[in-house]
């Protein structure tokens, strides 16, 4: 085998090794920021897994992450689900987090937040941007919550889809009382 062929083989092996190395050894920063939107990569984490309270609204939250960005603190909530879907539940939860965080720190929180959904089967993450609800809406919901809990609401709203009832532990009780969900 000539010197030229040997050099070519060596070069090919070297390039292949470099590609393999690069694929198997991603930078740590990319790995720990997986699933995050580009806007938040490299941004400063202001709070992580911290509890905040709003005495004025009677709300307490434990937020997953808040990043400090130019548009104010930006909330990030992690969810594990079978599908990469965002629900009303997430929107309310994040909106409550905004109220408590602003109340306790005085620092403005962005109207936009992120829900990072981790697929419970594959482990892959995807981020979805959501627009948070206004404070009066949350205040009204808080009041309705008290009414529902105290039994002052005659017909509390059922789950949007009957499919959601399949996993509910109160399914039989609900069917007996309201007789509209089997």
């Amino acid at each position: 085998m000539g010197d030229g062929a040997f050099t070519l083989i060596l070069l090919t092996v070297g390039v292949a090794a470099a590609i393999l190395f690069a694929r198997r050894w991603p930078p740590k920063a990319a790995d720990i920021e997986r699933g995050l939107p580009a806007q938040l990569r490299g941004a400063e984490i202001a709070h992580a897994e911290r509890t905040f309270r709003s005495h004025r609204h009677g709300l307490v939250v434990r937020l997953d992450r808040a990043y400090r960005t130019e548009g104010g603190l930006q909330l990030v909530e992690l969810k594990t689900r079978h599908q990469h879907a965002v629900h009303m539940f997430d929107l309310i939860e994040l909106s409550v987090q905004r109220i408590a965080l602003e109340y306790e720190t005085g620092e403005p929180v962005s109207d936009d937040a992120w829900v990072v959904v981790q697929n419970s089967r594959t482990g892959t993450r995807r981020a979805r941007k959501v627009r948070l609800m206004d404070t009066p809406d949350i205040t009204a919901l808080r009041e309705r919550y008290d009414d529902v809990v105290q039994g002052r609401v005659g017909g509390p709203a059922p789950a949007r889809s009957p499919a959601q009832c399949r996993q509910c532990a109160h399914k039989a009780r609900c069917a007996t009382k309201f007789q509209d969900r089997a």
């Binding site: 307490v60 130019e70 005085g106």
Partner: protein, 151 residues
Amino acid sequence: MSDRNDGFVSASELARMGYCERQVYFDATHGKRATPEQQRARHRGLNAHAAFLDESRRIAAASDKKGRCFIATLALGECDETRALRAFRDLFLRRSACGRWLVAAYYRQSPGLCRWLVPRPRAIRSVRWLLKGLARAAGAAVRMKVGRGHG
């Protein structure tokens, strides 16, 4: 997290109103119930959150490592002034090419300057005085930019 016992309602508890109000009502009147599938989902969620928190710590540590204000930390320690300077760096300097060049130049020069300062307490005092003034200005600029004063 506590709910009604101390007068506070948690975010996740209130969010359940968007899922099913009847479930909230039955939980309040009959106690919280969870099916085995819900318990498994909760367990998966807790594990994922533990990993997410660990990642948060590593991101914060990496950010601290790449963006530590060496001289400010030496002269002032970890305090509101150093945090104000850091916020100024992130909100103003890192947003322009010129600012990023300045930040990079600072990180290149500051370890050497720190070594020079360490055995000179009088020089550190002077730097501290200077940095406190800068931090006050930086803090004011940051507050103006983020529009502090809510709440």
